[in-house]
Structures are given as structure tokens and as C-alpha cells.
């Protein structure tokens, strides 16, 4: 009974998305039923706005925003947006490749205020700058912390204590 076919890799939304966005979609794939598109960093705001405002797709909620470090692959980082349409009950993943050198992506906190802290977290953990973010400060770590801990090259136990012995 249980098998791979239970999770169809059929593209349900991608044709519609490609039609809407045209050449802005750099690549797209559907893995285990998760439909994904790849767009350039410069386009992300217009792409997400288009997906949000399109009546047919109606991706009205930004469920999650996170970054992934693909060291040593190039481009090194990826910012991943998970969109949900509450009314149509569908999901879409949008990914943006980000270069290692001066990593930056335009902020989407203008589209969804909820992106504010997600972007601050991604900055804190990966050092990706979200251009135009109103208040890009560290979120989880403290101000005195140096480096961005979730990068693959940050050692897991390099501690930077505020008080107490340093190891």
C-alpha cells in the first residue's frame, strides 16, 4: 500500500505560475508534490506581489521564510519562501539564489509585515542582508555576538559568552 506514488509529482500549479510570471521563472521543479520555482533576487518582490495579487493563484499568506547555506555550492545561499493560499488550499515554494559576496535580497516585509522577524532571523543566522528592511538587527543572538552561527563554516560549539569562562 504505501509507496512513492502516493505523493504524486504532478505539476498542478506550475503551468499557471509560469504563464503568469513568464521569463522571471529561472527554473521550476516538482519534488514529492512540492512545487518550486526559482527566481532572481532582483525580481523577488515583484514575483511575490504578482503571486499574491493574482486572482487565480491567490497566494495570500507567507507561511515561512528561511535561508539555506549550500557551501561549497555556488551560489552559496538560498532564501526560501513558502507561500500558501488559504482559500485555494495550495502551496508553492519560491527560492532565490544569493551569492556569497555581499549577500543581499530585497525585503518583502512591505508585502507581508510578518516577514519582518523571519528576515531578521535570516540576517542573524546567515548574514543575508534584506535591503530596505526597516529594522535589520539580530533577533536570536545578542549584539556582541560575532559571525553568523548557522553558516556551515561556523563551528557548532564556538561559544562567545558574555560572562563566565571562555572555552
Amino acid at each position: 500500500m504505501p509507496n512513492t506514488t502516493a505523493l504524486p509529482s504532478v505539476e498542478r500549479l506550475l503551468p499557471q505560475v509560469r504563464e503568469l510570471l513568464g521569463p522571471k521563472v529561472l527554473a521550476s521543479h516538482c519534488h514529492r508534490g512540492d512545487e518550486t520555482i526559482l527566481v532572481a533576487p532582483g525580481e523577488i518582490v515583484s514575483v511575490l506581489a504578482a503571486l499574491r495579487d493574482d486572482k487565480g493563484l491567490d497566494f495570500d499568506t507567507l507561511m515561512d521564510l528561511c535561508a539555506v547555506d549550500h557551501l561549497p555550492r555556488r551560489p552559496r545561499f538560498e532564501v526560501v519562501y513558502h507561500l500558501v493560499s488559504l482559500a485555494k488550499r495550495q502551496r508553492l515554494r519560491v527560492k532565490v539564489p544569493v551569492e556569497e559576496k555581499s549577500p543581499s535580497v530585497p525585503t518583502v516585509s512591505g508585502l507581508w509585515p510578518g516577514a519582518d522577524w523571519f528576515e531578521r532571523e535570516a540576517w542573524d543566522m546567515y548574514g543575508i542582508v534584506f535591503e530596505g528592511h526597516p529594522d535589520l538587527r539580530r533577533l536570536l543572538m545578542y549584539e556582541q555576538f560575532e559571525g553568523h552561527p548557522l553558516r556551515r563554516d561556523y563551528p557548532v560549539n564556538r561559544r562567545q559568552p558574555l560572562i563566565g569562562p571562555r572555552n
Binding site: P2, L7, R32, D34, M63, V68, L140
Partner: protein, 454 residues
């Protein structure tokens, strides 16, 4: 630890009197369960500005999961939302299974659903009880802790631990329901119902409670904009429940209602949580009734083999490298020597799911099997790719986004923490309220440090 600064700006014509006061609530504050810092700027008793500072419980869940093999992430997921650990377990397991492309057996799905709902009840009991305590109703807190205790005893019987359970495995669960479990769970639910009735009596029409809870309203559009869902969103009329809208496990096969609030204030949140507990109990009843017998776990290929077939294969000597469960008769069990041994029916070539603990401690093959799965360099290797799977957590959509490069350990495990979004909107919600409203509003967020800061 309040640090107070008084603004001594002289009065002017367009701002006749400005007496703004800074008040730091937290990180260790009596009215806040959990460590979070809320800096408020007050004008008299009205909140004019808020900053929320989090991260005091950052324990690097995401970094730690990159350093251990796939199966070893489970203990870390327990400690995300530690009030409903079973839901986190299920969410992570399902994300990895999605990546592997396998589906668990039917009985396993029912069991997972059952334990998720038990966890949801404990989560809501803690939330309602703790916020009632902060409003002065210690009796309700004591009653709800006792109800939670009754459920935890069942959880302990099933999983071996009260809180940090690590019960779910990739491809299955640790063990079957012990004999007589249904009866004991029903008895525990009876206690929960009694205590909830008591809480209902003491709170729902209590004038003081109602007056204090009719605060902190948010509307549907606000929740939508900020991405808030779960009980908070539902109380504001945002009709979204992952269990119903993106059904997973067997939620399509049970009847339950999704309560929706109308006004979206703290009182509605309280009512929604109370109703959700009743609905969860309804789901549990249906699970206990409808749950079929059968295998719990699947193997890497997604094959399920019946226990009787396994035995025949064993008799024919065709199970080289496999351990037959019935040949293991040794204690110690995790249940203690006096209790029945609960056998897990195990199948397949043991590439994915961990063997039952009885076998690990009772036979060398089980031990090797276990080591093979948990030692670094061994264990499961999902094909390269990524998957996002969401379950309905205690506070809303709990999503796990896992990325694999085909290695024995995850490349990236990302959690979409539901209370994080509510906390990120908290400064908007609190602005304009009175200072005494912080306590019920913050209580209704049900902030869980482990999940918020990870």
C-alpha cells in the same frame, strides 16, 4: 526587574503633558511563563510603544540537527514545543518520510493521530491553566495540571517518558499501544472532562475573568497579514486548520469541528482553546474505535510485511540478517520487569526505522541494528532533495522544511514555529492597550520558548 525612566520633557502647547515611562518586563518576570523581554513605553497606563526581544532560549535546534544523523533529530524536536512534543515528532517524521517517499502503515497513522491529539490537549490545558493562574485563578491551574498529569501518565505508559518522549520514528512509531491502553486513556479523558467542567464553571462566566480577557482584539485581516493561524487566528475568524485544509494522517476519516471565534479577543481565544480540547477528545474517541490492527512500521522501500509472513520466512531460514521478534524473550523491557512486554511488530530489512528498545537491550542483532541506524556514517540516507511538511501544532501551522544532499545527516532542518509569528506581531497588538492587558494577551499567545527561539 523593572527599570524605570521618566521622561522629563517640558510641556508644550501641542503636547501638553508628556509623561512617558519605560518599563522592561522580563526576561525573568513573574507574569510571563517563559523568557522574553517586553519593553513598553507607557503614557500613564496606556501602552504607546512596545519592543519585544526574544532569543533567550536559543538552543540551536537547527544547527544541532545538521550535526546528527536523521534519526537523532527526534530528541531535539521533543524540546521545540515541549508542551506538545508528540506533534513535533510527528511533523518531523512526516517531513523526512515525504523526502524518502514512503508512507507509513495505517495503524501507525492512527496512533500518530491519537498521540498528536493527546498532545494538543496537554498544550491547551497548560496554556489556559497558566494564563488563568496569571489572572489570579490558582485553582484552575491546579486542576488543569492534575488533568494534564492524568494524560501524561498515559503518555508515559506508551512512550516511556512524560515529557521528552521521542516516540515517533522515521517510518513508524516506537511501539504499539500497550494492552488495556484504550480504557486507561478513556479514564484519563474523563478526568480531563471533569477538570475542564470545573474550569468552565470557575472562569467562563466569572466577571473578573471575562472583564480582563475581553482585551487584545485582532481581526481577521490582521492575522492574515501577519501570517498568524492556529487558535489565535481562528479566534479572529481566520478559518484555517492544517488538519482540515491540508489533511495528513487520517484526519479525513474522523469528524471534528474547527471552532471559529467572532471577536478575536483573549476571551475568544480562551473559548476556542477550550472547544478545541473537546474536539480533540472527540478525535481520540474515534481513533480508539476505528483504529485497525496491523503493522506499525515500514521499511525503506515502503514495503509492509505481515508478522505471520515474517514468521514463515524465518522458519524457512530466509531471513538472514534479520532478527525475529518472537525469538527475543529477554527482559529488561522499558516498562519495568513487572509489566507486560509490548512487542513491536517489525518488518522489512530494517533500513529505516529503529528497532524496538526491548530488542536493542535484549539481543545483539537488535543492538547492531540500532547502532547501524544511529551511528554517524550509517543510517538512512534520503535522496537529495527537499520537502516541506506542515502539521497543526498547538499554536498553528508547524512546518518542517528538510533539505537532504543524500548524506546520512540532514543538510538543513528548518522549523516554521507557529508562536514566532504571533510574537512578531505582538508589538502591534499591544500598542494602545493598558498595561494590565499585557498579561492576558501574552498568556493567550502561548509562547513556548523552545519553539520560539529554537
Amino acid at each position: 526587574m523593572a527599570l524605570v525612566e521618566v521622561d522629563k520633557t517640558p510641556a508644550t502647547a501641542d503636547a501638553p503633558e508628556q509623561r512617558r515611562m519605560m518599563l522592561h518586563m522580563g526576561p525573568s518576570h513573574p507574569a510571563m511563563h517563559g523568557i522574553v523581554q517586553i519593553d513598553v513605553e507607557l503614557d500613564g497606563e496606556t501602552i504607546t510603544n512596545v519592543q519585544v526581544e526574544i532569543g533567550y532560549l536559543h538552543r540551536c535546534f537547527e544547527k544541532m540537527s545538521e550535526t546528527v544523523v536523521w534519526n537523532n533529530v527526534f530528541p531535539y524536536t521533543d524540546r521545540l514545543n515541549y508542551v506538545s512534543p508528540l506533534i513535533n515528532n510527528v511533523g518531523y517524521a512526516m517531513a523526512v518520510e515525504k523526502l524518502l517517499g514512503i508512507e507509513t502503515t495505517e495503524r501507525c497513522q492512527w496512533i500518530r493521530m491519537l498521540v498528536s491529539e493527546v498532545s494538543r490537549i496537554t498544550d491547551h490545558l497548560t496554556c489556559v491553566g497558566a494564563s488563568a493562574m496569571e489572572l489570579g485563578s490558582l485553582t484552575v491551574f491546579l486542576a488543569f495540571v492534575e488533568a494534564r498529569e492524568a494524560l501524561w501518565e498515559c503518555v508515559e505508559e506508551l512512550t516511556g517518558a512524560r515529557l521528552t518522549i521521542s516516540y515517533v520514528r522515521v517510518g513508524g512509531v516506537k511501539g504499539d499501544l500497550p494492552p488495556g491502553f484504550a480504557g486507561r486513556l478513556r479514564a484519563a479523558m474523563k478526568i480531563v472532562r471533569e477538570k475542564m467542567a470545573l474550569g468552565d464553571k470557575l472562569l467562563t462566566r466569572n466577571r473578573i475573568f471575562v472583564d480582563r480577557m475581553e482585551t487584545g482584539p485582532t481581526d481577521r485581516a490582521f492575522c492574515h497579514r501577519w501570517g498568524i493561524n492556529g487558535p489565535w487566528g481562528r479566534s479572529a475568524g481566520l478559518d484555517y486548520d492544517v488538519r482540515r485544509d491540508f489533511p495528513y494522517l487520517r484526519y479525513e476519516d474522523v469528524d471534528f469541528d474547527v471552532p471559529i471565534g467572532t471577536r478575536g479577543d483573549n476571551y475568544d481565544r480562551y473559548l476556542v482553546r477550550m472547544e478545541e480540547m473537546r474536539q480533540s477528545m472527540r478525535i481520540i474517541e474515534q481513533c480508539l474505535e476505528k483504529m485497525p490492527a496491523g503493522e506499525l512500521n515500514v521499511d525503506f522501500e515502503g514495503k509492509v510485511i505481515k508478522a505471520s509472513d515474517m514468521r514463515d520466512l524465518g522458519n524457512a531460514g530466509l531471513t538472514a540478517g534479520l532478527v525475529m521478534d518472537y525469538s527475543v524473550a529477554a527482559d529488561p523491557t522499558l516498562n519495568g520487569a513487572g509489566k507486560d512486554i509490548v512487542w513491536t511488530v517489525r518488518v522489512g530489512d530494517r533500513e529505516v526505522s529503529l528497532p524496538p528498545k526491548e530488542e536493542v537491550y535484549g539481543s545483539i542483532e537488535g543492538l547492531i541494528n540500532h547502532f547501524k541506524l544511529v551511528m554517524s556514517g550509517h543510517g538512512i540516507r534520503p535522496p537529495a532533495g527537499e520537502a516541506y511538511h506542515a502539521v497543526e501544532g498547538g499554536n498553528g501551522e508547524l512546518g518542517f522544511y528538510v533539505v537532504s544532499t543524500g548524506e546520512d545527516r540532514p543538510w538543513r532542518v528548518r522549523v516554521r514555529p507557529p508562536c514566532f509569528v504571533i510574537m512578531s506581531a505582538l508589538h502591534e497588538i499591544l500598542r494602545g492597550l493598558m498595561i494590565a492587558d499585557i498579561v492576558p494577551t501574552f498568556g493567550a499567545v502561548n509562547m513556548i520558548g523552545g519553539e520560539l527561539d529554537r
